[in-house]
């Protein structure tokens, strides 16, 4: 029997997954904070409790995500690029492209038939088109971020959002609200803008079908729909897309 764990410290959330004999046995998602190591430990503890195991029985821990260097109890550190690829390969080995949109970055990863990363591309310069971007816009619209997806699906069309700079887009959103544009249309416009940016990245790396999506933003069906429309293909989303990086890390810890 093998028991391993993966810890993924992102800019907004910290995720932990425990894997027993190659199958997920426990998972936890906590809000990231200043004490990265403490939160990572707490997340791991919660995941272990779900799995009904103690930390002493773990055979290995891999840390990933932006804060991977701040997990003192991990034996190895692997980038989220490789971990998301590994996690998706575990679920759907036939997937060739992974779109991961997290709190502060977005990436498109190409996989080979063995689940190995063939190529990848990440967003440049700023957080435009990431979870943080959507969170700021949700704040400007006074809509809970987790409800943005449902809102956008009520809209027949999306408003035009020309700027992807978080600050400029926020003022654009405020202007659209002042003009009386329905909130649903604004949100759909924001989702379309995110999709256009991510699809440009996918084209840069030469995306291939089938496509899967991971990361917290994949929980937003509005973004997934916009991406599907822009790419012209369907996108597979795992039941909990936010923990795929941690799942991949736990699988990589097997050895």
């Amino acid at each position: 029997m093998s028991l391993t764990a993966g810890v993924d410290i992102g800019s907004l959330t910290t995720k932990a997954v425990v894997v027993r004999d190659g199958r997920m046995a426990g998972a936890a998602v906590l809000r990231s904070g200043v004490d990265s190591a403490g939160i990572a430990e707490k997340a791991l503890q919660e995941a272990l409790e779900q799995a009904g195991a103690g930390a002493e029985s773990l055979d290995g821990i891999v840390a990933t995500g932006y804060g991977r260097i701040r997990v003192p109890f991990a034996q190895r550190r692997v980038t989220e690029i490789t971990c998301h690829a590994r996690g998706i390969y575990h679920l759907w080995p036939e997937v060739r492209t992974v779109i991961d949109i997290g709190g502060q970055d977005s990436k498109v990863i190409l996989l080979d038939a063995g689940g190995k990363v063939r190529d990848f591309v990440m967003n440049e310069k700023c957080a435009a088109g990431t979870g943080r971007f959507l969170e700021v816009m949700a704040g400007a619209l006074d809509v809970p971020v987790e409800e943005m997806g449902a809102f956008s699906q009520q809209a027949g069309q999306g408003a035009s959002i020309s700027s992807m700079c978080t600050v400029f887009a926020e003022s654009e959103v405020v202007s659209l609200v002042a003009e009386g544009r329905p909130v649903a249309e604004i949100i759909r416009g924001l989702h379309n803008a995110v999709a256009q940016r991510v699809v440009a990245m996918a084209q840069r790396v030469g995306w291939e079908e089938p496509v899967a999506m991971t990361g917290g933003v994949a929980k937003n069906p509005g973004v997934v729909k916009s991406l599907e429309e822009t790419l012209g293909t369907s996108i597979r989303v795992p039941p909990d897309p936010q923990i795929i990086g941690a799942l991949g890390a736990a699988l990589l810890a097997i050895g």
Binding site: Y66, V78, T79, E80, I81, T82, D105, K116, V117, R118, D119, F120, V121, M122, E124, K125, R204, G206
Partner: protein, 421 residues
């Protein structure tokens, strides 16, 4: 302690424009550097630094006419005329090392120099207007490879009220282009001599071309040694030797530096002195690198054992010059640059470098101001992918530290290394 730390610690906050104009600065600096000779892992690097100090002293103390040039202008002409060449882009790198970039970039911004323009030129503008650079007696510039240089340097020439000479390099490489460039080079040479009241010395001009050929030959010897495995010099160390490529061809000192480097490399290969304890991957580096403190090479070479075995800027792309036909030879050199359109030339050159240096991966540092180096990346990416060579386009800025995101850079590099190793 590297020389920049030394300078900062000795001059500290007193590092002011007047320090550059005092002969004492160069005397002290030279002595300090000379005293550290044995601490330099590469004596060629030590020699290069001393040469650079001497050249800076000559320019800042105005020991002769100072001619500013961009890094793609053939400097053989300047050494042949006996003037003091000064490359503002290269000086911008030194300014970054000295920690004066932030204030100079702010000055450029205040002068309406667009933040989207190349930061080498923004920084050079700021350093010049803040009085950190020696005033030019004339400015020469080539139009090829760098879009910002002609406008930036023409503005500088106007600011100082000195003549500006533009070498207009066409994108084609036929006989007409060769003739067109050669005629301009001749005209610029004699116009410079006239405007600066220089006495024409045919033997000196010839010697500059002979020096250029000798430096080329020694650089080729260096490059042949770098093709062997395992690597005996880390990319981080080798990168400092591109300076003569950008500002030193035509000078006897460049012959010495490359000659000494070839000797040292040869000795290290014979002694099987490895660049890193275990060479896990060999990388080719395209374009330049960031010059402010950063962890890129530390991560690649020392932590991961992925050695940058060659950098594009050290590629010898031209044939030897004919001292009997200086202007035609130099025109041919200018037109031979693999970065000059069409993109297929650069792709072909990069693939040849991958083969020659046995590189298993390629990193392209996409300096944000360099539009010319980013436009054809799709072709390069496709060609490398066809050969199964992983490629990373690393976006960033060579001299503007405010654009450096350590965490994001680390993730891209580590993700790339995970593909390779």
């Amino acid at each position: 302690m590297d020389i920049y730390q030394l300078l900062r610690s000795h001059l500290g906050n007193a590092l002011r424009q007047r320090a550059f104009k005092s002969p004492w600065t160069y005397r002290l600096l030279r002595q300090a550097v000379a005293a550290q000779k044995k601490h330099y892992p590469w004596q060629a690097a030590h020699r290069l630094l001393l040469n650079t100090i001497d050249q800076a002293a000559a320019a800042f103390l105005q020991k002769g006419p100072v001619v500013w040039h961009n890094v793609f202008f053939p400097t053989e002409i300047l050494y042949g005329l006996g003037v003091i060449p000064f490359a503002p882009e290269a000086a911008a790198v030194v300014a970054t090392g000295l920690g004066i970039a932030r204030g100079a970039l702010r000055r450029a911004e205040g002068d309406w120099v667009s933040g989207e323009a190349c930061s080498f030129h923004r920084l050079a503008h700021g350093c010049d207007r803040e009085g950190y650079f020696p005033p030019p007696g004339a400015v020469v510039c080539s139009s090829h490879l760098c879009d910002t240089a002609p406008q930036s340097l023409e503005t500088t020439a106007a600011y100082h009220g000195v003549p500006f000479y533009l070498l207009d390099v066409p994108h084609r490489q036929d006989a007409g282009a060769l003739d067109y460039v050669a005629r301009q080079l001749k005209s610029i040479t004699f116009s410079l001599a006239k405007s600066l009241n220089l006495e024409w010395d045919g033997e000196r001009f010839r010697e500059a071309l002979v020096n250029s050929n000798a430096a080329r030959e020694r650089l080729q010897a260096v490059n042949r040694l770098r093709q062997q495995r395992p690597a005996c010099i880390r990319g981080e160390e080798a990168h400092s030797f591109i300076y003569p490529m950008l500002a030193g061809f035509g000078a006897a000192t460049s012959v010495e530096v490359y000659g000494q480097l070839a000797d040292e490399l040869g000795r290290r290969y014979r002694e099987q002195h490895r660049a890193v304890p275990e060479e896990k991957a060999r990388l080719l580096w395209l374009h330049l690198r960031p010059y402010y403190p950063n962890a890129i090479f530390q991560l690649l070479e020392r932590e991961a054992g992925a050695v940058v075995v060659f950098e594009e800027m050290s590629h010898v792309y031209w044939e030897p010059l004919d001292p009997e036909k200086p202007f035609y030879s130099l025109a041919r050199k200018v037109l031979s640059h693999h970065g000059l359109a069409p993109m297929a030339r650069r792709v072909e050159a990069v693939l040849a470098m991958v083969d020659a240096y046995q590189a298993g991966g390629v990193i392209h540092f996409a300096h944000w101001g360099c539009r010319q180096s980013t436009a054809g990346l799709r072709l390069l990416q496709d060609a490398l992918r066809e050969r199964g060579i992983p490629f990373l386009n690393l976006e960033g800025d060579c001299v503007d530290q405010s654009k450096y995101a350590p965490g994001a850079t680390r993730t891209r590099l580590e993700g790339f290394l995970e593909m390779l190793i």
